[in-house]
Symmetry: C2
Subunit: 258 residues, 2 copies
């Protein structure tokens, strides 16, 4: 069995479900730490900051620092910075997105019209007025960026609209398609691979969601390890067009391969 | 030239543009009144009541009463009433939709979960919470109805998101498709044809928007008269797959045929 030198790891459904850690998640991370194998957590969540995420992991006894966390907001901010380091951004989103953009030194514009970028992340306080302003700015030429395609987010109240659903209002109204950043896109993956500092052939992407985690790995040309502790049920395995390189029912089965 | 015995007439782009009446619109309606030819105004607008619409027309010296006006909200309320006369409706919308449902004796539910119908019209005060509740109700089995597909609405500030764009959040997040009521659907047309009380072969649909007005007429098997005073430019005429029966640059050219 191949020994990987770097791990990219999904969170929801792989490390925890809601507020509950998944069995063996802490042991899995401890095994990586013990062998000094670098890893990063990769989440499409755009509302939390890396600090919020690592606090949550630590509360579940899963070792992490904020530097272990790449959110779709962080990857979005880095992507925009590469394109235009003094960009002016009109933002629909929450704290995680605002802070990520500010930390990259980008300007947050109160005025949509005339901004360089309209950046959309999940915003549970979004208004019609803000969406309308975003549409006008995009029609006037602003670049349209969206943190991720997720159409719904699992909560204790049920499946609520995700950022992909919010983004669709603007997409449908303007007829313009955004650049998506989060998994399964390669943009967030390239950011993570470069941050990890390990050659691509030695990295594995670990996750429970075929459509985001596993396709992200496949799309970016790295190996994939699928776990069945989250959204994609095991019985769907046979229907995958492109299979993950490895799959386990849960992470405990993989620890010996680290 | 065929003499029609009943007219269905679009408003925006056909009778007025924004707050300005279109030349000959008042003369056109006066000619119908003079010959006692029945007519109805048909609008996808879901936020205004028929009274709001007729007041606006009268201010522009275009003769009308609220009984001449069928909004997409009115057609929605009548459609639901035919299906379930004691329906319980969770509503995303503005005054025009609420009043229409109430006037048909339907119950407006504050609680989305467990409602019979989730009814969506343009709501410029819509919140994430309301959309999220609507999604949960639809996943739980509520019928999903949307007043119209219009993706954008022309305003003095530019093109703003229309009801079709708002509806797409729920559609994308739940994966369920709504029943649309407004033009170019036949639901609003059948309601209007029945209200007009004239045989279908003697009715003409008049409008400026190929994708809504003209297709609505074609879809419901009545004749169509296209005017080029609104959104669809004349140079697109040659590209229409199914042509309108008649077309004029503006309504003054048609008055002699009334």
């Amino acid at each position: 069995m191949k020994k990987f030198k770097g791990y990219l790891i999904d969170l929801d459904g792989t490390m925890y479900r809601g507020s509950e850690p998944i069995a063996s998640a802490a042991d899995f991370i401890n095994a990586l730490n013990k062998k000094n194998i670098p890893y990063l957590f990769l989440t499409n969540n755009s509302t939390s900051t890396p600090e919020n995420v690592s606090d949550r992991l630590n509360q579940m006894n899963i070792t992490s620092t904020s530097r272990h966390v790449i959110t779709s907001s962080l990857a979005t901010a880095k992507f925009i910075k590469h394109q235009k380091s003094d960009a002016n951004c009109f933002v629909i989103g929450e704290e995680g997105l605002y802070k990520a953009l500010q930390q990259e030194g980008l300007t947050i514009s109160e005025e949509a019209y005339g901004s360089d970028y309209v950046v959309v992340g999940l915003d549970r306080g979004v208004t019609y007025k803000k969406i309308a302003e975003a549409c006008i700015a995009i029609r006037a030429g602003a670049e349209f960026i969206s943190t991720n395609r997720d159409v719904s987010i699992p909560t204790e109240h049920g499946l609520l609209p995700g950022n992909g659903a919010i983004t669709s209002v603007i997409e449908v109204s303007t007829g313009k398609h955004p650049i998506y950043i989060g998994k399964p896109e390669t943009i967030i993956m390239n950011e993570a691979i470069s941050e990890l500092g390990v050659a691509k052939q030695d990295i594995v992407m670990v996750g429970d969601n075929y459509d985001t985690d596993i396709l992200a790995g496949i799309n970016s040309g790295i190996d994939t390890l699928m776990v069945f502790t989250g959204v994609t049920p095991y019985h769907e395995y046979s229907s995958f067009d492109k299979k993950p390189n490895y799959h386990v029912k849960n992470l405990s089965e993989w620890i010996d391969h680290i």
